[in-house]
Symmetry: none
Subunit: 210 residues, 4 copies
Amino acid sequence: MKKNSKDSIVEAAIYLFNTKGFSGTTIRDIAQKANSNVSNISYYFQNKHGLLEYCFLKYFESYIAELESAFLCIDQGAKATLQKMAESIINYHTENMQLTRLILREMSIDSQTVREIMSTYFAKEKYYFKAVIEEGMITGEFRQVSVSFTIVQLKSLLSMPFLNTHYLSEVLHVFPHEPYFTQKYIGEINNWIEGVLTPHHPKELVFESI
Amino acid sequence: MKKNSKDSIVEAAIYLFNTKGFSGTTIRDIAQKANSNVSNISYYFQNKHGLLEYCFLKYFESYIAELESAFLCIDQGAKATLQKMAESIINYHTENMQLTRLILREMSIDSQTVREIMSTYFAKEKYYFKAVIEEGMITGEFRQVSVSFTIVQLKSLLSMPFLNTHYLSEVLHVFPHEPYFTQKYIGEINNWIEGVLTPHHPKELVFESI
Amino acid sequence: MKKNSKDSIVEAAIYLFNTKGFSGTTIRDIAQKANSNVSNISYYFQNKHGLLEYCFLKYFESYIAELESAFLCIDQGAKATLQKMAESIINYHTENMQLTRLILREMSIDSQTVREIMSTYFAKEKYYFKAVIEEGMITGEFRQVSVSFTIVQLKSLLSMPFLNTHYLSEVLHVFPHEPYFTQKYIGEINNWIEGVLTPHHPKELVFESI
Amino acid sequence: MKKNSKDSIVEAAIYLFNTKGFSGTTIRDIAQKANSNVSNISYYFQNKHGLLEYCFLKYFESYIAELESAFLCIDQGAKATLQKMAESIINYHTENMQLTRLILREMSIDSQTVREIMSTYFAKEKYYFKAVIEEGMITGEFRQVSVSFTIVQLKSLLSMPFLNTHYLSEVLHVFPHEPYFTQKYIGEINNWIEGVLTPHHPKELVFESI
DNA sequence: AATGAATGAGCTTTCATTCAT
DNA sequence: AATGAATGAAAGCTCATTCAT
């Protein structure tokens, strides 16, 4: 009768953690939404917190995989690679908006989970970003910039819209769920790469902007 | 005996909501940290949620005031004004990092509070950003851009570093609390204004980058 | 500004104790309804329970006074006196319906208050009822009946309609507040005195009694 | 380990609600007396109020069943039927004195529960009383009386002794728990039916009295 | 005489978890 | 693999009362 109890629990958890926050969600909420029994959560994930950790892992495994895959074409140039990385992340975030929002929010809470589980993933993520930026600076594709501050900006631009989807849709009337958004926002990121990271060779660059 | 019970409750609440999340914080935690009595929370703020709302109002009243004040110099040019607005916000966020982080996180939860309380503030904020961007496009200081997508980016850049302070300090070794950060990050935002918003007049712009 | 704080507190208390029960009413409810301050309750009545006791005394002082006054005409015959006593009680209950209902309900709770405060009043009440019934039995106006069981019935008939006013009005469409009710119900009590207490055929019936 | 948690909770609740009133009883009291856990009250009855409603239903289901069963012999005459109904109610009240007292008291509080839950039961009860009284008036067994006012008296006589058991035992020294009381009080009710409801045909009636 | 801030105890309810099946 | 009853801890909140003014 139940397709897959474990999966439906995770699905329900992502939705509810995202909507009401981790602490604001009860395991009964989750069990009910998943059409499962409360005890199954303990059974599969040890306890409520284990379920959250599972969600974190689920997110980061894929996230890093996307990043890794995009990084493979580094020999085609730093700019192209960075553009591909940004595009991959935006696509991944768009396709997993609930999970992304949950991670981005809970990450900002000061907890053991964040420190322990995520440090390795963040280290990897930093490695790829740093590598591509430094490569670009060496080849002259990028200006000489602060790697850290560049990563700060890049991550800001790639995360925020998915964290504040309400704000986007209700205040700015920009709808991250629509396919048009993804396309357009990738263009904006490329503009940022051009305008902020790339050295100004006047003639060509003017025509890149939308 | 107690100097100011109400204020110390708010202060404790901001710290704890920020550190452990709203749902993850108990009113007993707050009362204890504030050296006050649990009942006083109900007494002053009706209930736990009222205390959160109070924090929201506290943040937004000042935030909008900062924005409004910076907007006053609009006759000195759109770019200068936008730079001043960004600087004001960064300064305000730096000085109220705890509160800012709390607001930015809880805002992303799907609740009545967010919708009802904040809609007016967001409308005002949007008004100022839109006004300055459109002014810039009219005078030719800014390129022709999508107002909404520009606001998305601007808000991303102005918020994210204050939401993920752990990440910045522990992964990137960038410390938002240090005075150097503020100064440097304001420069980065100005770069963004130059590189992304300002039309390329080759000669001058090259020298603006840090 | 306040006419009489004490009186308005009592008035509010009677209404609220009656509507929501003693334990179900908070002193803040009372203070608010009385347009007074919470602390005044402690000031005037020591504490919440003192206020209840005050209500009990208020009721019983008047109640016993009514009974006493009606009993004075005992030399005009037992039946006439009993009728007058019943009429007085019904009138008093009608005029103080809220207070009456409150007393009748709280009396049924097993508490110190009931035992201590009321025992003297109940003793007095019993004395008058017993006196009039026994007088009637001596003079032959009444049949030989059990005094206790007669008092049970009499008190039942004189109390219940005022305890269950909702039931009367909503189920039976009998409205104790209307003047017609009082008049009619006094008639019913007199019927009861006639039919149950008075011998039908003086000579024979005397022997029927238990 | 626990035999029947639900039943023991109900039993404890009836005793305590009766003794201390609904609002005056805490669920900790109940759980302790029932040797159960506080949470089980929520588990079985949703909340404290749900437990009260359960008691109401428990009472009325049986009460109406008694009434219905007694009403079946209506073809044996209205008076006999009414006597049987009264007897059934007195027996039921005697056997369930705690519950009865609880219901009678809480019924007098002005609440949603009373209005919603009980209206149907009261309608049924009224139907049976009305039917038997009207039948009696048609056949000439009963005098022409007001149905409503007769029900008021009947219910008064059948309820009050069970509501004020303290008063009966401590003031009047009448003990409703003793078997003698039931027998005697049924006799009193029959006297009331004879004296108040039955037309006076001197010769015959004399022999009917007990 | 009256007020409003402050207190601490205690209440109802919720929750994550465990146990027996 | 899955269920539902049961548990103890703790959470949010309420309340009668007191204190300082």
